[in-house]
Amino acid sequence: MEALSNKNKGKVLLRAEGLERKFGGLTAVADFSFELREGEILGLIGPNGAGKSTTFNLISGFMPPTSGSLSFLDQNITSKNATHISRMGLIRTFQHESLLSEMSVADNIIIATTHRLKSQAARLEKMQETAKLTGLEDHLEVMAGSLPHGLQRMLSIAIALAAEPKVLCLDEPLTGLQGAEVGAALDLFEMIRSELGITILLVEHNMRAVMRICDRILVLNHGRLLAAGTPEEVSQNQLVIEAYLGHKK
């Protein structure tokens, strides 16, 4: 409940206004506005093709929006590229091909420290620390592509953490994880927020997990914001229920 009171106090880190992205004649995201506040875990959910991944690409600078504006830490980042935005502290993970499969776990994490830390010793220290946090310390010399799936997911989070984010955007980090792994991952997210003080934007399919960990949830459908609110509010929203049931058929 502490989180709830926090959310009202937290200042706005990321703000999107009227975000829109078209591919040819297809509109992937339309008129999408939201705010991400310091210290919260914000969930972004929606059926397949609802525009979640496109939203991620827009806010992280991997794709320019067709129209609308984005600001991060009170700076306009609408037309900034991915390098610029990640240097400001907004770090994203990827749903697919989320790591450097042909490099060792250690190298994967060191790459992520390269921009912020200039001495090799500091990089190694940061790498060790991040690996320990994500349970990878016993696999440092393993080729990332040959890690078991669950550890690959952890590694993609470790890469993002090693880059010292202010805002961490996780793209379906739980996909393919087994029962106990899901719980461990959620504990990790909670720890990242409370102990490292990192704000999290989470795209996820696993509804129970989202309901459990998020302070607020945004629901996208056909590229538009369908509903927003606390997990309780969203789970009782008639439109949301219809959108999900409609897609289950």
Partner: protein, 311 residues
Amino acid sequence: MLKDNLGLTLCILIALASIGFALFSGDPYYVQVVIWVFTNAVLAVTLRFVLLIGELNIATAAFFGIGAYTTAVASTIMDWTFFASLLAAPVIAGIISALFGWITLRTKGPYFLLISFAFTEIVRLFYTKTEALGGNSGMIGMFPPMALNDYFPAIAVTILAAILFGLYAAERSNLGRVFKAIQNNEDIPRSVGLNVIGLKILCFVIASATVGLAGGVHAYTNSVIAPADFTYFVAVLALAYVKIGGEGHIAGPIIGATILTLAGQFLHSFGPYENIFYGAIIIGALLLVPGGIVGLGARFKTGKFMGRAER
């Protein structure tokens, strides 16, 4: 790790022996062959250096030529001193490659391959049509100063060996790791704040400047250069060295260049068979031994020795 250090020590010894040979051997032909081996090794290693970011760079041949012509112009037309004319080669090659890379490295894969190919042929065309550069017959008269004449082969080998060790160090540094990351999946380095385009240009400029320096050395080694020395075929042979030796480790292209350059000495008199030989060896290596000699060696040692560098 230990074995890698052993290999490095061995390489340093070989380099020192080559320099010694260049100094004290009385036979100019064999000294010439040693310089050729080192020059070809530099061509292959710089080609592979850009392969670290995943791009096949035919323009290696162009920048080798640009270096050679720069040194030739500085030496014979502008009368610069020996070392100044040599130094001009990497500087000019570096500047041109920065410009070329800035424009072209926004494309990748097939587009970059084809543009670097077209660039190589166009630069060659430019030499043939420029009277000041001697047109089709090229330029002559690049000689080291009299005082250095006896030492020139040793100087050449030293410079070329230094390039090889320098590029090895660059690959082993964090920069090399970042280059490999870009090749593996460039979205990841981009997502953690690295300027991927800038780093690609840097990689390209390092390779082009060093191969430009080798071109400058080549100008003094041969004393004669002509546009026909710098066709895309130079890059094709360099690629053959990389393929035969194996691209998993920097030793690969060096081994490949050594073997094929020595073999080439016997093949020159074979006319069409020379091309058939190179063609067959490239196809055979690609289809039968994809990892090259280095790859075979690594597999032989149960994959532990070179495992980190293997693709």
